[in-house]
């Protein structure tokens, strides 16, 4: 009898342990074999939606421009590349890099540069004439110690506020023009609250809050000091940073209580449904609104208050990994990525704007035309949340500090945590 009991227990325990260990299985990276030398494996996190459509556009251009090579899709799904970056890190450290991989242009590439995993492509800039085609300020942002390690395919703008004019009308606010400063914006939100809008500013978790912090810092410090923050040339402990973070804290008090539990499309939904007046999010919102068939009249957009004249950019770019398979094929891919045709095929579908300054605005939808005009004339500043200004590690620490602040509301702690994050690599 006793034997029977302990056997049952043993079997059940074993079942439990199996169930646990099954959770630990990890992906092996899914790298294909390299038998065919024509294959160009392109690693991205563009697996569906407008991003996939954009990639398909690039692929069709690649098919006509690079007839000698065959495109092999090696995309890993997951928002902002969260899963893809882990898979890529595995592939790179096991010495099995793809022909080319997607990475945010700017500081986020620093990890790969430090690890010696990507090659300098500044030679290709000259060869393809990209040094003339891209704006000089973008090239300056991409250059690390005189070298450039990636070719941007597109440009997005981070500092954009999307508003619902019908909601703003309840408080007699004109939705077509931006408040001049963060303080004026806060005053408008007070009016909205008085008019019965409980949470005038819709916001979601993680990087959306980080983008709002950045927008407030940019507005309060100005472009040069803001850019200096990410290079540790501006003092993070300064009184102006404290004042800006105090305003961020104030802004949070106007936001929805479920901000830690929702993603940016939900926050946008609050605006579209009229529950909120504003949301701050990158201009991929424009493509989302088109896809959701929200009419043009139902929403307005302007640069985040106090940041007009600044274009806070982020860009997806492609690299040439050290020891990558089929470098000639990769070179042809990079040529297509940087070319006018390739950028048009990609960006008209993805909802971003081309990094080249010679593109035809008439090829693009309404929002992108306005963004292209700003891209050409505005001051270009980088975004930390999307890797242009911060490395993965710095971004990771900043996100953690911001999620802590969302609960604790301790400005001094947030300020010191941000400064400490930028001192790590």
């Amino acid at each position: 009898m006793r034997g029977g009991l302990s056997r049952t227990v043993a079997v059940l325990s074993a079942a439990g342990l199996l169930a646990v260990s099954a959770c630990g299985n990890s992906d092996d990276g899914g790298s294909g074999d390299s038998a065919a030398s024509k294959d160009v494996t392109v690693f991205t996190w563009w697996a569906d939606g407008g991003e996939k459509a954009g990639l398909d556009g690039l692929v069709s251009t690649f098919g006509t421009e690079c007839k000698d090579f065959k495109f092999v899709n090696s995309a890993v799904a997951g928002g902002a590349g969260a899963n893809a970056k882990q898979v890529l890190a595995n592939d790179l450290s096991s010495g099995n890099p793809p022909s080319t991989f997607q990475a945010h242009a700017g500081a986020e590439l620093g990890d790969y540069i430090k690890a010696g995993q990507v090659d300098d492509v500044s030679g290709l800039y000259k060869e393809f004439g990209l040094d003339k085609a891209f704006p000089q300020s973008l090239i300056d942002n991409l250059t690390v110690d005189g070298k450039i390690y990636s070719i941007p395919a597109n440009v997005h703008r981070a500092n954009v506020v999307w508003a619902n004019p019908a909601v703003l009308k309840k408080a007699n606010i004109d939705g077509t023009t931006a408040p001049a400063t963060v303080d004026a914006w806060i005053a408008d939100m007070d009016k909205l609250k008085a008019a019965g809008v409980k949470a005038p500013l819709a916001i979601s978790k993680g990087f959306a809050q980080e983008m709002l912090v950045e927008a407030v810092l940019l507005a309060e410090l100005g472009a040069d000091k803001f850019t200096g923050l990410w290079k540790n040339e501006t003092d993070w402990a300064g009184a102006d940073v404290t004042a800006a973070l105090d305003k961020y804290k104030k802004l949070l008090s106007y936001t929805n209580s479920d901000r830690e539990a929702i993603d940016w499309p939900d926050a946008l939904g609050y605006v579209n449904k009229g529950q909120a007046g504003y949301t701050l999010m990158g201009d991929w919102v424009a493509a989302q609104q088109l896809a959701d068939k929200v009419p043009d009249s139902a929403y307005t957009y302007w640069p985040a208050p106090g940041t007009a004249g600044n274009f806070q950019y982020l860009a997806d770019s492609f690299t040439q990994p050290t020891g990558g398979k089929n470098p000639d094929g990769a070179k042809c891919w990079l040529k297509v990525v940087g070319s006018a045709e390739g950028q048009k095929a990609f960006n008209t579908k993805k909802g971003s704007i081309p990094a080249r300054s010679d593109a035809q605005p008439s090829d693009y939808p309404k929002y992108q035309q306005a963004a292209m005009a700003d891209w050409a004339k505005d001051k270009i500043v980088p975004s930390c949340a999307h890797g242009a200004a911060c490395s993965l590690g710095q971004n990771n620490d900043i996100l953690s500090a911001i999620s802590q602040f969302s609960g604790s509301q301790d400005v001094a702690k947030l300020q010191s945590a941000l400064g400490a994050a930028m001192k790590t690599s």
Binding site: M1, R2, G4, L5, S6, T8, V9, L12, S13, G16, L17, A19, V20, C23, G24, A82, K85, Q86, A89, L92, S93, D111, K114, A115, G116, Q117, K205, G206, N256, S257, D258, R259, E260, A261, I262, Q275, S391, L392, G393, N396, L399, S400, A401, S403, Q404, S406, G407, S425
Partner: protein
């Protein structure tokens, strides 16, 4: 001589593959991780790394983020084990008393365990929406429909460490209680009916029967359950990740922090976190193994 090999030779031969595989893939790699944790390998760059002694560990224990993740883990483990044991035992008791359609209930309670944690995490992330009042969604919505508005709360998104981690433990309790129920039910069924009859003949009340006759016999099962739940809780990753996403300070536990650290290619620090986690599990498992071995040698 020849005869002796005959007695232990075949056994050793059968064991050999297991010993080799376990030796390399478990213990060898633990040693490798420990070795990495003593170096300054903070990037993905290949080549030799310098030894820095226990610096990675002293840095970790001086870091608010890591200490926070350890405290979160402690609270989560207590909430998860207590919750799961209470519900598991309760359901086992109810089924043991004999209900019509017992097998249906048994399956219903066990089914959550069949769902992968990442899938249930996604759904629980929706259920634990912190909106309240008119905008309430998920469980809060259910409470407001049932006129139980006082139960609405902000779940893991606000409040103390206890309310935060208890909200995270809730889905885990839901998922594992059925399994603990099955363990206890097997235990109850394994107790010879003669014992109950003898107790009843001696005039024991139902409460006394359970308190003094049945429960003491379940203690080995309770111990196994404790160990299984304890080490599951220490390793919990996917459920929390799916509910709260990465870099969420409020709910971060060491396993998630390790993943984040590895994502930034800080291999030495990630290895140090892994070794600390291993040590915490060992604190739980080694006494259990020692206890079992002693029990067996006593028999």
């Amino acid at each position: 001589m020849h005869g002796r090999i005959r007695t232990w030779g075949p056994g050793a031969l059968v064991l050999l593959p297991t010993v080799l595989l376990l030796g390399y893939f478990v213990y060898g790699l633990i040693a490798w991780s420990f070795n990495t944790s003593l170096t300054d390998r903070h990037t993905a760059r290949k080549g030799p790394a310098d030894y820095v002694g226990l610096e990675n560990y002293t840095n970790l224990f001086g870091e608010e983020r890591f200490l926070n993740s350890l405290k979160n883990l402690g609270v989560l483990t207590v909430a998860f084990i207590v919750g799961t044991l209470i519900f598991g035992l309760l359901w086992a008791l109810l089924l043991e008393k004999g209900v019509p359609g017992e097998s249906v209930f048994r399956s219903v309670f066990l089914f959550p365990m069949a769902i992968s944690m990442i899938a249930s995490g996604v759904v629980w992330g929706w259920l634990l929406n912190p909106s309240q009042g008119d905008e309430a969604r998920g469980l809060n919505r259910l409470f407001s429909i049932l006129q139980l508005n006082f139960l609405e709360n902000s779940w893991w998104t606000a409040g103390s460490r206890w309310t935060t981690m208890m909200s995270i433990a809730l889905p885990a309790v839901w998922q594992l209680s059925g399994y603990i129920m099955a363990l206890f039910l097997a235990g109850f069924r394994g107790i010879p009916p003669e014992l109950r009859e003898a107790a009843r003949v001696d005039g024991a009340s139902e409460f006394k029967l359970y308190r003094h006759v049945l429960f003491p016999q379940l203690s080995p099962i309770a111990l196994s359950a404790l160990i299984i739940l304890g080490h599951m809780s220490l390793k919990l990753f996917d459920l929390i990740y799916a509910i709260t996403g990465p870099n969420q300070f409020r709910t971060e536990v060491p396993s998630i922090y390790m993943w984040n650290t590895l994502l930034r290619s800080d291999q030495a620090k990630a290895a140090a976190i892994a070794i600390v986690m291993l040590a915490v599990v060992a604190v739980l498992v080694i006494p259990y193994v020692a206890y079992t071995v002693r029990q067996e040698s006593n028999e």
